[in-house]
């Protein structure tokens, strides 16, 4: 009998453009965002490999420039138009201004300036400065800058070592320790944090996609004054509540599946291997994600229906449910602050268990089967409590008649 209620509510919801828009638009939001954020990070990473370096005075540092070129830096001679320096200066103020203007106007992100005495000083085993003019607030250029300074440092170390060898001194004497960098590149961790948003969007989808229906079948019914006539039919309250719940569940589940498909699609479109992440989704992972998240499609509408019945109108319901919308964010923030590993009790906290499971699956770990079962069952349990509560509320005179 509940299916009669569900079918009617679905028919109604499918004619409701607002509910449909929430169902179809929200699932698009997350995957599209993730796609663009990934591409941005990957572009930055790619750029660092392929650096074009504007140089002033490249001819004064032949050896260094050769070294940079060998390491894949594209040297771009920057001609200066301003009046040259007078006696006693390397570059005139006008020329230095020209360089900083070029950076400020975004013609270049940075410029390497080599003094005319460079080769002379280096040849005489003395020391020379080079200047790297840059704009430090431009985050997109920072990987390039650090690559260039690293290369210049490497050339300096090499030169120093050669000087010592020529003098019969072991270069190890001046560098007793060398740091070997095991690179957990910054873009990789940024990618990880974006992957961390996937569970968030999935949990949000469960809440957003069914909400329109959940509000309409409860607060909407009260606002329209159609609850009293409905309850006159010889059908138990829980049957009616379950029927209404199921209509919202179908919307929520559809949204979830849509979000999932679109997320997988958008992740498969991003060249993740270029930032060193192996993203290998098999059938097992997809099943895992579905098993994890579908209980959310039962839970979110159950709480919305429970709260919706309290509300006399759409307006009331919206006010109440905006608080409920904060719920999916709780596990997300908890996870951000929480450094410890998953613990057993987390399975029993609604949504936190799902969030943990999803995070694992998205990162390519396989959680234990028992975690899936416990997290799913506890959500089901909470849903039942809300549905039972909603059925009880529907018996209240205050709810039926006002």
């Amino acid at each position: 009998m509940w299916s009669v209620v569900t079918r009617k509510e679905l028919k109604d919801a499918l004619r409701d453009r607002r509910a449909l828009a929430a169902l179809l638009l929200f699932p698009l939001l997350g995957p599209v965002m993730i796609y663009f954020m990934f591409n941005m990070i990957i572009d930055i990473a790619e750029d660092a490999v392929d650096v074009s370096l504007p140089v002033v005075g490249a001819e004064y540092a032949t050896d260094l420039i050769d070294f940079l070129q060998q390491n894949g830096i594209d040297i771009d001679n920057m001609p200066l138009n301003s009046s040259p320096a007078s006696e006693g200066e390397f570059y005139s103020q006008a020329q230095l201004d020209e360089i900083s203007q070029a950076i400020k106007r975004r013609r270049f992100d940075f410029v390497l300036v080599i003094p005319p005495t460079f080769d002379e000083l280096i040849g005489a085993s003395r020391r020379s400065n080079v200047e790297l003019h840059m704009e430090s607030t431009r985050t997109t250029s920072s990987p390039k800058i650090s690559r260039i300074s690293n290369l210049i440092d490497a050339w300096a170390r090499e030169t120093a070592a050669l000087r010592l060898i020529v003098r019969g001194i072991n270069p190890d004497i001046i560098s007793p320790v060398s740091v070997v960098r095991i690179d957990v590149a910054s873009q990789q961790s940024r990618v990880q944090s974006i992957l961390g948003m996937v569970p968030f969007f999935v949990i949000m989808a469960a809440f957003v996609c069914g909400m329109g229906v959940a509000v309409d079948v409860t607060a909407g019914e009260r606002e329209r004054k159609s609850l009293e006539p409905l309850l006159v039919n010889p059908v138990p309250r829980y049957t009616i509540v379950i029927g209404k719940w199921m209509a919202a569940v179908l919307f929520s589940a559809t949204g979830l599946v849509l979000v999932m498909i679109l997320n997988f699609f958008s992740l498969s479109q991003v060249p993740l291997e270029e930032v060193g992440i192996v993203f290998n989704y098999g059938r097992l992972e997809i099943v895992g994600v579905l098993v994890t998240t579908l209980p959310l499609a039962l839970f979110a509408p159950s709480i919305q229906i429970f709260v919706g019945i309290f509300a006399k109108s759409f307006k009331d319901a919206q006010a109440y449910l905006s608080f409920i919308m904060l719920l999916p964010m709780a596990p997300f923030f908890f996870n951000m602050l929480n450094t410890q590993d998953r613990e057993f009790w987390m399975n029993f906290v609604p949504m936190l268990g799902q969030h943990m499971l999803l995070t694992d699956v998205v990162r390519g770990d396989t959680p234990e089967i028992i975690d899936f079962i416990l997290a799913g069952m506890s959500l089901l349990f909470y849903s039942m409590i809300f549905i039972f509560g909603a059925s009880q509320l529907m018996k209240k005179e205050r709810i039926i008649f006002t």
């Binding site: 009617k8 004619r15 329209r224 009293e228 006539p229 409905l230 010889p234 059908v235 039926i400």
Partner: protein, 239 residues
């Protein structure tokens, strides 16, 4: 048949229904007559199982409303005071929904609805969405969905409220026909004309109490007034 004995209901400090008792026979139209707030709706709501009485009993065809409200609801058709429709569903879909909730067979549903559409002259609104229905059109849909399962007993709260003359007349015709079919019809109204034109038995209610009950002639005899309105005024003033 609907039997009410010693029914009482209070909301916090307000006594809405106070020791009300009456019987609505089969094959008769019984009318609850009273001012707004006299306790008519509360009495009816107890009868169709949405309010719990504090005291007394209400039986429909011998079934207790309190202990077996679903069984009672199955044997009655109800037109509530609230006439909410869903703006995105058509007239026909509203009636279908209630018929299905009552477990009726699809073929029978279609037959019954077609019949109701014809008697209530709803051809124009049957397949239009309820958005923008006039009050009369809404009432027709509500009336149809309370009649679709052909109930033995009919409970109606102000059934002709807001209807135009034409529709009021067709509602009256339907009720007369149902009476001929030996149904039990209980309705409430504050419109004297309505009550005197339709009802075989009149129950005058004020402040939750039954002041007088009987046929139009009996009321006239007891009060010495031939006009129902005059009789009503006299009864309520005495109390």
């Amino acid at each position: 048949m609907i039997e009410v004995t010693h029914l009482s209901k209070r909301f916090r400090d307000i006594v809405a229904v106070d020791d009300v008792g009456f019987t609505a026979r089969n094959g008769a139209i019984t009318g609850l007559l009273g001012h707004n707030g006299a306790g008519k709706s509360t009495t009816l709501r107890i009868l169709y199982g949405l309010l719990k009485a504090d005291q007394g009993s209400a039986m429909v065809d011998g079934v207790d409303v309190v202990t077996d409200s679903l069984k009672v609801q199955a044997s009655i058709g109800v037109m509530t005071d609230a006439h909410g429709l869903n703006p995105r569903l058509t007239g026909r879909e509203h009636i279908e929904y209630f018929a299905r909730l009552r477990g009726m067979e699809e073929r029978l549903i279609r037959k019954r609805i077609d019949g109701l559409i014809e008697t209530l002259d709803m051809g124009e609104i049957a397949d239009r969405r309820a958005e923008g229905f006039s009050q009369g059109e809404k009432m027709k849909v509500c009336l149809s969905r309370s009649l679709v399962h052909d109930p033995r007993n009919l409970i109606m709260d102000e059934p002709t409220n807001g209807l135009d003359v034409m529709t009021t007349r067709s509602v009256r015709t339907i009720l007369q026909k149902l009476k001929q079919e030996n149904k039990c019809i209980l309705l409430s109204s504050h419109i004297m004309q309505e009550i005197s034109a339709l009802c075989d038995e009149i129950i005058v209610i004020a402040e939750g109490r039954v002041l007088m009950q009987g046929s139009l002639e009996e009321l006239a005899r007891l009060t010495g007034e031939s006009d129902l309105e005059e009789a009503f005024m006299k009864i309520t003033r005495q109390a």
